[in-house]
């Protein structure tokens, strides 16, 4: 089932250059889509257009069988959550508990039900022991997990991660990735759109969209995308380490047959 359909999406900040230029794709229920591309390729602009922070051209975005317009914006936003890049810019509560409660209060969830919901979703992102902590006492990864808990508490159908791990240390990145994996396992119908430069993450998703100067230059599963290394060079993104290593070995005349893991490659090299 298609939850979001994007059709010939065009956007310009200055009415001269289109930073998003005729983009079309769809988001099906339960799909994990990664959008990669160079800085300025239009990735984050697409995220903002999808949740109506920027105004899309008419009839270009349809979500849950509704046109994305001023009239339907509120109903669509209730079903789409977004986690932004900077963990400090989206922490609105004075404690973890208040932050998760913020969205629930906006939806006028009765206070006697709120505690159970907060506890449930804080536990899902492993933040139950931090409910009364202030943001100053949390790491970047912990703050992003609180943001995820706040979104999960709203029971969305789609979550957009706009470079949500790029400012985090390796531990923080791992924590957020684990939270994403867990929520997908618990809710197989949840769709994820991840805008990322982390290629290891992108290639663990179901579908990879490669953007270049506002246009989609590839949209396929990770295996097929990896077979077209030229796309990476042209789009200013990098191959994952393993593929870069294999390419360099091949250029040096060393062909590897079993390349399923780094360990296997090393075994073959040492044979």
């Amino acid at each position: 089932m298609k939850l979001i359909e994007v059709n010939n999406l065009v956007f310009s900040y200055d009415k001269k250059i289109n930073v998003v230029d005729g983009v079309s794709f769809s988001v099906e229920s339960g799909k994990y889509i990664s959008i990669i591309g160079h800085n300025g390729s239009g990735k984050s602009t697409i995220a903002k257009l999808l949740i109506g922070l920027l105004e899309a051209n008419k009839d270009s975005i349809k979500a849950f069988d509704m046109e994305l317009n001023a009239k339907n914006l509120r109903a669509i936003r209730q079903r789409v959550g977004i986690v932004f890049q900077n963990p400090d810019n989206q922490f609105v509560g004075s404690t973890v508990r208040d932050d998760i409660a913020f969205g629930l209060e906006n939806r006028q969830i009765p206070h006697d039900q709120m505690d159970d919901i907060i506890n449930k979703f804080a536990a899902k992102v492993n933040m139950l022991d931090f409910l009364d902590k202030e943001p100053e006492n949390l790491s970047g990864g912990q703050k992003q997990r609180v943001a995820i808990a706040g979104i999960l508490a709203m029971n969305p159908d789609v979550i957009i991660f706009d470079e949500a791990t790029s400012m985090l240390d390796p531990k923080g990145k791992r924590e957020v990735r684990e939270s994403i994996e867990l929520m997908r396992k618990e809710n197989p119908n949840l769709s994820i759109i991840s805008i990322t430069h982390d290629l290891e993450e992108a290639f663990s998703s179901d579908e990879v969209i490669v953007l270049q100067k506002g246009k989609i230059v590839a949209d396929d599963n990770p295996e097929n995308i990896l077979e077209k290394p030229g796309i990476f060079v042209e789009s200013g993104v990098d191959l994952p380490f393993k593929n870069k290593f294999l390419n360099l070995l091949s250029q040096a005349g060393i062909e590897i047959k079993n390349d399923e893991s780094l360990e296997r490659i090393v075994e073959e090299l040492c044979r």
Binding site: Y13, D14, V19, G37, H38, N39, G40, S41, S44, Q85, N86, E136, S139, G140, G141, E163, S166, M167, L168, D169, P170, K171, G172, H197, L199, G236, V237, D238, F241, K244, F245, L248, L249, Q251, A252, G253, I254, L262, E263, V266, E267, L269, C270
Partner: protein, 282 residues
């Protein structure tokens, strides 16, 4: 002239219930002309440490000497901080949020103008620095708020380069940049370093330490746990310091464990590793 920290302590919100000791008895030396990376997990004190370098934060206890400037509480040289800040340029984390002028060129020219350079000359410097960081001329008159996050970061870096600092302090300058942008910026810092600029580089990306650093400082819970050169750091199990092993090092370790006789002193990049593998296999 190097940078010396002598028994530096720094405490936020002292004498309040929110008191937090971010630096605990830090003593270290950053050599003149080095490319020194400071690593450690979030909250270990890295950003607090670099803010001592141009006197944005003054040590609660202890002292910092930078290029002949002595920074210590109640020291007379604190009056000369204005001069020190010409010599030490700091690019903060999320530097893209510091842009504020109406056009990109004016934003970059703001620093030199603030230090007394005439506007016309400052704009000329701004254009040179924007070219250095790879911002095209067609962008110069644009608002800094019209461009992408990665481009904003480059403009912010140009703004600091415009001050022609002797010491360039960078707090996670490549976080959020695409791989090509990251390489471009890192190669730029490497070139500046070759020309004599001391680079102090805070990062979570251990691969940058592997490929670019001449010196490395490892921090944990406000303390310096190790000050060394990358080769010595990676000869140890770096995971004991909550760091990740660089992927190249991980591959080298696997190959060594399988008995391949690599000359590790020749390996500083993936290209070097493949050359070395090819040499051994011959």
């Amino acid at each position: 002239m190097s940078i010396n920290f002598k028994n530096v302590f720094y405490t936020y919100s002292e004498k309040t219930p929110f008191r937090h000791e971010a630096l605990k008895d830090v003593s270290l030396t950053i050599n003149d002309g080095s490319f020194t990376c400071i690593v450690g997990h979030t909250g270990c004190g890295k950003s607090t440490l670099i803010q001592q370098l141009n006197g944005l934060l003054i040590p609660t206890l202890g002292s910092v000497d930078v290029n002949g400037y002595h920074i210590e509480k109640k020291s007379k040289s604190l009056k000369k901080l204005h001069d020190l800040r010409k010599e030490v340029g700091v690019v903060f984390q999320f530097s893209e949020y510091q842009l504020f002028e109406e056009t990109i060129e004016e934003d970059v020219a703001f620093g030199p103008i603030n230090f007394g350079v005439k506007k016309e000359e400052a704009i000329k410097i701004a254009h040179e620095c924007l070219e250095t960081v790879g911002i095209p001329e067609s962008y110069y008159k644009k608002s800094p708020f019209e461009i992408s996050g990665g481009e904003k970061r480059r403009v912010a870096i140009a703004g600091i380069l415009a001050l022609q600092p002797k010491i360039l302090v960078l707090d996670e300058p490549t976080a959020g940049l695409d791989p090509r942008g990251t390489k471009y910026i890192l190669d730029l810092f490497k070139e500046l370093n070759k020309q004599g600029t001391t680079i102090v580089f805070v990062t979570h990306d251990i691969n940058i330490v592997y490929e670019y650093a001449t010196d490395v400082i490892v921090m944990n819970e406000g303390k310096v746990v190790m000050q060394t050169v990358p080769e010595k750091l990676f000869a140890e199990d770096v995971e004991q310091y909550s760091l990740e092993t660089p992927l190249i090092q991980k591959t080298v370790n696997l190959l060594l464990a399988k008995g391949m006789k690599l000359d590790v002193s020749k390996i500083h990049s993936l290209e070097d590793l493949v050359k070395e593998i090819a040499r051994v296999r011959k």
